[in-house]
């Protein structure tokens, strides 16, 4: 492993550190702790074997075409256990991945996108600034998914949210129920959810969010949203007579 800490301590006059400004620096031990969580994930061994550094993942990666982003560097940093670079990537790079898994093209069977999945989970679980920032725009979607089990709902279509969608947007939003009924399929007549969700499904979903800790994952990122959802779920489960 190439630990930069050893370099800093022992050869600090020589080693040239890349400029990693733009987020809070944390002690080396904290970086090690975060990486241990990544490495300790049960999936990690299946996601990283050894890296040829051949770049085929970068060639296949749509994000790499548009951002300063490289799945190869993510795999390499993990393979080299370079905790400084891994921390930098958790604050920056990993949010530029679209999680399309084109990088599974890897001849060694690595899964750089999967490593990023784990790194994102660790970033979220530990309330990293980048995770908060990345998720700001998603709080409505998180609320929708966790409260209703569906993602984008028709009532999210508002002209203030989509000013570039043209003048019809306002009319559709104002007469949403009517427009929805114009569609033939029965399930499409919902307005506040993407489709009809059965009561039993919703209760099961709430149990899953609570029992797996999925809801807790957003506690550090958006505490307001977390408490709204928690209250909603506990209330509903109480009505069903379910004690956790």
């Amino acid at each position: 492993m190439i630990e930069t800490a050893a370099r800093h301590d022992e050869t600090d006059a020589h080693y040239k550190v890349p400029d990693v400004a733009g987020y809070a620096e944390v002690p080396h031990e904290e970086k090690v702790r975060l990486f241990e969580q990544v490495k300790g994930d049960f999936r990690f061994g299946d996601y990283l074997y050894g890296c040829y550094e051949c770049g085929i993942c970068v060639a296949a990666c749509p994000s790499a075409k548009f951002y300063d982003f490289s799945p190869r560097r993510v795999a390499q940093a993990a393979a080299r256990e370079d905790v400084d670079l891994i921390y930098q990537q958790m604050q920056e790079d990993i949010w530029e991945c679209s999680q399309c898994f084109s990088c599974l093209r890897c001849p060694r069977g690595n899964n750089p996108g999967g490593i990023i999945t784990i790194m994102r989970e660790v970033a979220v679980n530990n309330g990293l600034a980048s995770a908060k920032q990345a998720l700001v725009g998603y709080s409505r979607i998180i609320y929708k998914i966790m409260s209703s089990g569906t993602q984008v709902s028709p009532d999210m279509l508002r002209s203030d949210a989509f000013p570039d969608w043209g003048p019809e947007t306002a009319d559709v939003a104002d007469n949403l129920d009517l427009w929805r009924r114009a569609l033939p399929a029965e399930t499409m007549h919902t307005t506040s959810t993407g489709w009809s969700v059965a009561d039993k499904t919703l209760v099961e979903l709430y149990l899953i969010w609570l029992e797996t800790g999925a809801l807790d994952m957003i506690a550090d990122v958006d505490s307001g949203l977390h408490s709204i959802l928690l209250e909603l779920m506990e209330e509903r489960l109480e009505e069903e007579g379910i004690q956790l």
Binding site: M1, I2, A6, R7, E10, T11, H14, Y15, K16, P18, Y49, G50, C51, E53, R72, R73, Q76, A79, R80, L85, R108
Partner: protein, 356 residues
């Protein structure tokens, strides 16, 4: 006088296999070896494990030696070197002399197989800034192999086990400055094999291999390279070390981590130079005495390569193993068997002359 005997010059793995094969198809052999023992470089340098699978080297080489020395058609002359050649193809007369006694001997033979092998590049030479003769903890693959054969890897400077070990690849290979433009073929595999062995002996150590590109052809890929990286966590970093410097009681290696796009300076306890192959002094001398063509690097020119890799430019004289260029053991014994059949085939297909 025409002769049905084949002279094999050099008693390493190539010469042993050539002698064995000639004898097994009924040919008479005289095996000439400069050293006082058979087995060549693997025995002289006390190889620990054979690349790629790491089986103990000495018993396997010993078995080859025993097969040859026990064969009734093989005569072995140890401590003997070539002094001259007379006669013509099919009826050569070799002049030999004892390395101790300088006593001249002659041997009649119809064909000759050169199996004089390679020598290691001298890492103290010219442009090398690795301090091989300056720092005790800068060693070669062969030095490490000696340690591995005793199951002990210790820094020569203080006798302590190293925490950080690195291999520097292509030392004396693929280098126009040095004049050795060729790849030495085996060093990537040997470095990886040795790296695995170091990690097994010293589980807390960190082992790096700095390389230009890893040449792990065929099954070496999955038999050495992948296990080294995946099971033994050897760190492969693409980028060569430019120099080794003293830093406190450790060694600082300077290079570029090319795929990460950043310079690197790392501290090491033990630096292993993956030195390449050159023609052995014996190969150069035998080529000169037999008058066979050498290539610009001094290896014997296999003029019919690639489909005839064992013929030299002189009729009746064949070559095998690392005498004609860098070769691993598989290449060596394969070409040795090829040289044997070509030599015997040559003798048996000669036109019958009045002298017979």
């Amino acid at each position: 006088m025409s002769s049905d005997k084949v002279a094999v010059i050099g008693g390493g793995p190539g010469g042993l296999r050539a002698a064995q094969c000639v004898a097994e198809i009924g040919g008479e052999v005289v095996l000439v070896e400069q050293r006082d023992f058979l087995g060549g470089t693997p025995v002289a340098e006390n190889y620990a494990g054979l690349t790629p699978r790491g089986e103990p080297a000495q018993p396997q080489i010993r078995a080859m030696i025993d097969t040859v020395t026990a064969h009734r058609l093989v005569e072995v002359r140890l401590g003997t070197e070539l002094a001259g050649l007379a006669g013509e193809p099919g009826a050569f007369t070799l002049t030999l002399r004892g390395t101790q006694t300088a006593e001249a001997q002659t041997v009649e033979c119809g064909a000759i197989i050169i199996a004089t092998g390679f020598g290691h590049f001298d890492p103290g030479r010219s442009t090398q800034m690795y301090g091989y003769f300056e720092f005790p903890d800068v060693i070669t693959q062969a030095d490490l192999e000696m340690m591995l054969s005793e199951h002990k890897v210790l820094c020569p400077s203080d006798g302590q086990p190293p925490e950080r070990v690195c291999f520097i690849q292509c030392v004396g290979s693929r280098d126009r400055q040095i004049g050795n433009e060729y790849c030495s073929k085996v060093c990537c595999g040997v470095a990886s094999k040795e790296a695995i062995e170091v990690r097994q002996l010293l589980p807390d150590s960190k082992v790096f291999i700095f390389y230009i590109d890893m040449r792990m052809y065929g099954y070496w890929e999955n038999e050495i390279y992948w296990p080294a990286q995946e099971q033994h966590h050897v760190q492969y970093v693409k980028g060569l070390i430019t120099e080794v410097l003293p830093k406190g009681d450790r060694l600082l290696v300077r290079g570029e981590d090319t795929t990460m796009g950043r310079p690197m300076e790392l501290l090491m306890d033990l630096v292993v130079l993956s030195v390449g192959m050159e023609p052995s002094p014996g190969t150069r001398e035998v080529a000169r005495l037999l008058g066979v063509k050498q290539n610009k690097y001094g290896f014997i020119d296999a003029v019919g390569a690639p489909l005839d890799p064992v013929s030299t430019d002189r009729e009746g004289i064949f070559v095998c193993g690392a005498a004609f260029g860098p070769a691993d053991l598989e290449d060596t014994v394969s070409s040795a068997a090829g040289a044997a059949i070509r030599a015997v085939g040559y003798l048996r297909s000669r036109p019958v002359t009045a002298a017979n």
